[in-house]
């Protein structure tokens, strides 16, 4: 994952900047970024599972199964990313990974903001556990069609990540002048 992120970053810089436009300062920043991202502090180097990438997230809500596409980015143990929940909207994503344990927070900025907090464990290309709702409620048992919060569960399954595949499909190499080029 670290390699992928480094590649993406470097590739982006090169795509948007010609060699003649790169200043010495910019070049130093680029090198520093590469060093940081390949350091032991980066994801995958702290014994935490690597969850970066695309996931299909689903959870048992009041009236049925809610679903959406989760795109996670991981730096060390910290998670950021995006979530496409259709009409539910696109909440702000944050979270942490500690070993195989994950906590993921989705902040929905709808008419009435609310926050879902997912906790669980990672098992390869799957993860899951329980979630709760902060801000307001979770329990709702009036018509029996839904469970109490203690029964709320979620799962996520890793999806093919086109962005990642594309990046891997375009390896880079150092050129004669030290710059990297996209092949």
């Amino acid at each position: 994952m670290t390699t992928m992120m480094t590649t993406v970053m470097t590739t982006t810089m090169i795509k948007t900047t010609t060699a003649r436009q790169i200043t010495k300062t910019q070049w130093l920043c680029c090198c520093l970024a590469v060093l940081l991202l390949t350091s032991p502090f980066a994801a995958g180097q702290n014994n935490s599972a690597n969850v970066a990438g695309k996931w299909q997230l689903s959870w048992e809500a009041r009236l049925g199964t809610a679903r959406g596409t989760l795109q996670l980015e991981q730096v060390g143990s910290k998670l950021t990313g995006s979530f496409d929940g259709g009409s539910l909207g696109s909440p702000k994503i944050s979270g942490t990974v500690e070993g195989k344990n994950i906590t993921l927070t989705l902040d929905f900025q709808r008419a009435h903001p609310f926050t879902l907090v997912f906790t669980g464990t990672i098992d390869g290309d799957k993860m899951g556990g329980k979630f709760d709702i902060r801000g307001v409620q979770a329990g709702y048992d009036s018509h029996g069609e839904n469970a109490r919060p203690s029964n709320y569960s979620w799962t996520a399954v890793r999806q093919p990540d086109q962005t990642r595949s594309e990046t891997y499909a375009k390896p880079v190499r150092s050129s004669a002048n030290g710059l990297q080029k996209v092949l």
Partner: protein, 643 residues
């Protein structure tokens, strides 16, 4: 009128096929000729407000009518005193345990009277106020944001009433909880005020058939259905809300105890708005839930005057998955713990097939009555008897995407079709609809819209046509605008959210009072509109609470226990108590008669005649099956047409 409201109104008229001229009329412009059925009474608008889960005796058990009026309730029958203590005839409410370990029976044997009913428990009633798991809430501003439909003085009740007790234990707020006697008990006391959350009793189809304990062998002239209403706690503690196909847990504790036997004391301060309305307007003491059981099937019966069968979604009958078919036969080695029944289990029955589990007990009983009652079950039709989600979500896509416990879409005709064909405007106003449309799975915790309560959300002809959806299903915010500007549809069906519907455990009766009050205040602030509007305030069902009233079997599906009905209009004043036998479909019959509509289908319940009764007993129809159209609950000017 705001722009969105104007657009909604425009869609409403376009959808019912009325001309642009009719829209102009509704906006107050000069009125050209309108091709729509005119009402035959001064009632030009009907508003039906449907709360949740209270029987007549539970709310009005100690109601004292004005001089010259009579009422049949716990007090008048001397089951309790006006203080709520046991009365001379307390034994009429006495409950029994029983034994059912073979096949499902609606009147099982080996009955044994309880000395003391099992202690009422807390079930899932909220332990404490919490903004992360309300209601009740801790923060008023948050509560008002989540629930904007209360008359403002009632907002404070969004913060109060938690039990202070753990779930599924005896509710020790009730004095002498372990020695309550054999029958009904007053729920409220110094330690359990009216403004309290409490447990919700079971209210499912086969369970309620057992609780009411009906048998031709116990029929009398004053109680020709032979329903004894004496197995309420036993069903609560032996099966509760169902097995979902699982074996019984050990130990078995449904968490309810005898919650069903509780009543409010309206003579001593409980349900003050319901008391005031009863004293000022007209109530019925013979109005019934139309289906034995719960929310979904009763709202369906209201919309279709019939039950809905499982189908392929294209109008063809089909067989549901095995684990969705009801099997209330007791599991081997248990006393009444059903094989397959529950909110994520059995909910359909093919009641035309006498070999199906549960069916013979009900059908044989109906056939044993004098005169026999037809089950009215079509061949090969698996009818939905309990709560499953409707066929569609708010944007018209299939609900089965979100949950397997969904009845496929229906093409069965409903009251909306009758109204639209006659050019009569109508709208279902569901609180929280707008939020729900963007949140079909209910992931948004503020989304307490009741999907199973909307009869039209099951219907293909409404849900798959955007103009129909937008015209006929709207948020209550539009109702409030309509009340202000006078653009109310002829027929409005209003459903509160889960916070305010009055359902025990998840809501409180005072919150439903606050929801009702909000509408009445807005209506009465528009005198022109109020002069031509009748408001029917009722409940979807009795919620599994005990009631002492007569039950008339109409078909396989019901009726069930009595529920409150209050009729607020200028033509139903004076504190009258109407005794005519009625149920949810009676409101449909009122609408049909007022606007000159025929029955919905050839087999729907609105085909039943108005009751005839003997001089000595106004409660029991002598021409059963019969349900009233409620015209006799009004006093119209003599110049008004009376068909």
């Amino acid at each position: 009128m705001s722009l969105p409201s104007f657009l909604a109104k425009a869609r409403q008229h376009a959808a019912v096929g009325v001309s642009l001229f009719a829209l102009i009329v509704n906006l107050g412009a000069p009125a050209p000729a309108v091709a729509q059925n005119a009402p035959i009474t001064p009632i030009q608008h009907v508003i039906v407000i449907i709360g949740e889960n209270r029987t007549f005796d539970h709310v009005y058990g100690t109601f004292v009518p004005k001089r010259g009026q009579t009422v049949s309730n716990l007090l008048s029958r001397r089951i309790v005193t006006i203080e709520g203590a046991p009365g001379l005839n307390y034994g009429l409410s006495a409950q029994n345990s029983a034994t059912d370990s073979g096949v499902f029976e609606i009147s099982p044997g080996s009955k044994s009277a309880y000395t003391n009913i099992p202690a009422p428990e807390t079930a899932s009633a909220p332990t404490a106020a919490s903004d992360s798991d309300p209601a009740p809430f801790v923060t008023l501003s948050l509560a008002k944001l989540a629930e904007p439909d209360l008359f403002p003085p009632y907002n404070k009740y969004l913060l109060t009433g938690a039990t202070g007790l753990a779930h599924n234990i005896p509710d020790t707020r009730i004095p002498n909880v372990n020695t309550l006697g054999s029958g009904v008990f007053q729920l409220t006391s110094a330690t359990l005020p009216y403004d309290s959350y409490a447990a919700s009793p079971v209210h499912r189809f086969y369970q309620m058939w057992q609780q009411t304990d009906c048998s031709a062998a116990t029929a009398t002239s004053s109680n020709p259905s032979g329903c004894l209403n004496d197995l309420f706690p036993w069903v609560e503690v032996t099966i509760g809300a169902g097995s979902n196909g699982n074996p019984p847990p050990s130990p078995l504790n449904t968490g309810e105890g005898s919650t069903s036997m509780a009543f409010f004391n309206v003579a001593h301060g409980d349900a003050p708005l319901f008391r005031q309305l009863a004293e000022q307007y007209t109530i019925s003491d013979n109005f019934h839930q139309s289906v034995e059981g719960g929310t979904g099937a009763n709202h369906i019966m209201f919309g279709y005057a019939d039950a809905l069968p499982y189908s392929d979604g294209n109008g063809n009958l089909a067989t549901p998955p095995t684990n969705q078919v009801e099997d209330p036969d007791p599991q081997t080695g248990t006393n009444n713990y059903y094989d397959q029944d529950g909110y994520s289990g059995g909910s359909y029955s093919n009641c035309n097939d006498i070999t199906q589990p549960g069916v013979p007990a009900v059908v044989n009983y109906l056939q044993s009555l004098n005169p026999p009652i037809s089950p009215n079950c079509a061949p090969n039709a698996y009818y939905l008897l309990n709560n499953y989600n409707p066929g569609y979500v708010g944007n018209g896509t299939l609900d089965s995407v979100y949950t397997q416990f969904t009845i496929p879409p229906t093409s069965q005709k409903h009251i909306g079709d009758s109204l639209s064909a006659a050019g009569v405007s109508w709208t279902y106003f569901g609180e929280g609809w707008d939020l729900y449309v963007s949140d079909p799975s209910g992931a948004d915790p503020y989304d307490r819209y009741c999907a199973i309560c909307n009869p039209f959300q099951y219907a293909t002809d409404i849900m798959t046509v955007p103009t129909q959806r937008e015209a006929h299903i709207q948020d209550t915010t539009y109702l409030y605008e309509d009340l202000v500007d006078g653009s109310l549809p002829a027929v409005s069906i209003v459903k509160p959210s889960g916070f305010t519907d009055g359902h025990p455990s998840s809501s409180k009766l005072d919150l439903f009072e606050g929801f009702v009050k909000n509408i009445l205040v807005k209506l009465q602030a528009n005198p022109t509109l109020a002069a031509s509007t009748a408001v029917f305030i009722t409940f979807d069902e009795g919620g599994g609470y005990y009631d002492s009233g007569y039950i008339q079997p109409l078909d396989f599906f019901g009726d069930g226990t009595r529920i409150p009905l209050v009729i607020v209009s200028p033509f139903s004043t004076g504190g009258i108590v109407n005794h005519s036998y009625a149920d949810h479909v009676s409101i449909i019959k009122f609408i049909e008669r007022n606007w000159g509509l025929g029955p919905i289908t050839a087999r729907s319940r609105d085909n039943y005649p108005n009751p005839t009764t003997s001089a000595s007993n106004p409660y029991v129809p002598t021409n059963s099956p019969a349900i009233d159209d409620l015209f006799d609950a009004f006093t119209f000017p003599t110049t008004a047409a009376r068909n």
